[in-house]
Amino acid sequence: MAFHERDGVRMGKIDFGGISRDACLEYIPDAALGDYVMVHVGFAISRVDAEEAARTYKYLTEMNQLGEIEAPEPELGGTAGNST
């Protein structure tokens, strides 16, 4: 990601798996180089939380082992902050 300003709007160059495209960063003002963001119609609307992504994936890959030992559910790790 590289930053620049266009017509008074903060923009960034985003790498979409090899294709790079500009996106407006006004809604993720603290986006930093190397962050992963979700882009919709040319606007970054959310930053992907790398820790949560890794934790959810780890939870999913380990799920069956947990199922086999009849671990209590549903508040297993990885999806913290789920219900309210």
Binding site: Y27, A53, M63, G67
Partner: protein, 376 residues
């Protein structure tokens, strides 16, 4: 691509499906709200992998599909006016209005342009000071901050030859409408991940508790959808009705507050008509009064144009989760993505187009007796 490939892992998907099978004890009907989720479910055949007790029905969250016919007719009238450059997201160009689509207007000499971002329209407006640039501002809460920014920036930069034809809708009133219908079959929702990335998910909590319905905010990759389904089935089996967040890597409870702030600056809540469904009170956005100079409906005096849906199309019932594409006699025959009768066949996110593009019209005949049996 990172955060995409991992969530398409076949072995993990099989584990999730096994866990859903182990959890389910009776039939449940779940609705995925977003068209993007529908697309992913049909593309990866997730609905065919789930145990027969878990039925997925497809929701109203396809922005192109729910844009009402009269709004498309208004777009056509504006785009045919001399001196107008009409800009839109690409999907909207193929949606049939009462008299053809925007491609036809373009073929007849209208200046209709596809834009990637609404901010592109401001550049077009600056480059064409003698033309009126109109942007077709459709979409859900996900798109609203982008469209709001275009209007905000137009005023900040004193761009006077730009306006927007607003047809914005919001998700929560449509979910409430589905739940209030006497014909409703939906017992749990896979909530809209991208919408909640912007809005958070606080506003779904009163819906979950009032209607006793689990709502699991869910992402768009196969593993997201399977995990969302598992969480919803667990809640149903345990008699819980809560808002849960499966899409933790992109969504938190509060959402994107900077984006919400811009929406409120530019838009106000308004009654909106949904294609195939009708008017839902307080279900969308209109421009705030202070931005009336950017309101294309007012500038081009098209607000009184009305339209009537073709009778054969059942897209309204598909959008409400009451019917599925193969239930329509026109599906795959008279109605295809090349010759769409209704919006659910036009948009890539529409349920009918997803079923057709992934070959479901070829197996529709084979599955029909099964669904009759299931009903008996």
């Amino acid at each position: 691509m990172k955060y995409v490939d991992e969530y398409r892992d076949h072995a993990v998907a099989q584990k999730l499906i096994a866990e859903i099978k182990r959890t389910v004890t009776r039939p449940w009907v779940l609705m995925e709200v977003c068209g993007g989720q529908t697309h992913s479910i049909v593309k990866y055949g997730l609905d065919c992998l789930l145990p027969k007790e878990v039925e997925l029905v497809h929701g109203p969250g396809c922005p192109v599909c729910v844009t009402p016919l009269e709004m498309i007719d208004r777009a056509h009238v504006i785009s045919r006016k001399p001196g107008v450059i009409f800009c839109s997201f690409g999907d909207m160009l193929r949606v049939p209005g009462s008299n053809g689509d925007l491609f036809q207007v373009k073929a007849e000499g209208g200046d209709v342009r596809i834009v990637y971002s609404p901010l592109d329209c401001l550049r077009i407006a600056q480059a064409n000071p003698n033309k009126n640039v109109v942007f077709f501002a459709i979409g859900f809460e996900t798109t609203a901050p982008a469209n709001a920014m275009a209007v905000w920036q137009a005023r900040a930069q004193n761009i006077r030859n730009f306006s927007v034809l607003v047809s914005h809708v919001i998700v929560p009133p449509s979910i409430t409408g589905i739940l209030q219908s006497p014909y409703n079959r939906v017992q749990a929702f896979l909530g809209p991940g991208h919408v909640c990335a912007v809005m958070g998910y606080r506003e779904y909590e009163p819906i979950a508790s009032r209607y006793r319905v689990p709502i699991v905010i869910t992402g768009f990759e196969p593993l997201d959808l399977l995990e969302g389904t598992l969480k919803a089935v667990r809640q149903l089996e345990q008699g819980r009705a809560e808002v849960e967040n499966q899409y933790v890597r992109a969504v938190d409870q509060r959402g994107n507050e900077a984006a919400q702030k811009m929406i409120v600056r530019v838009f106000a809540i308004a009654d909106r008509s949904w294609r195939g469904i009708g008017i839902i009170p307080k279900s969308g956005y209109k421009l705030n009064y202070e931005f009336r100079d950017y309101d294309a409906e007012r500038i081009f005096e098209v607000a009184n144009i009305q339209a009537r849906e073709p009778a054969v199309c059942i897209s309204g019932q598909v959008l409400k989760g009451l019917k599925k594409p193969p239930d329509c006699p026109a599906f795959g025959g008279e109605c295809t993505p090349q010759t769409p009768l209704g919006a659910t066949m036009v948009s890539a996110e529409g349920a009918c187009a997803a079923y057709y593009n992934y070959g479901r019209h070829l197996i529709a005949v084979e599955t029909a007796p099964q669904s009759a049996e299931a009903k008996a």
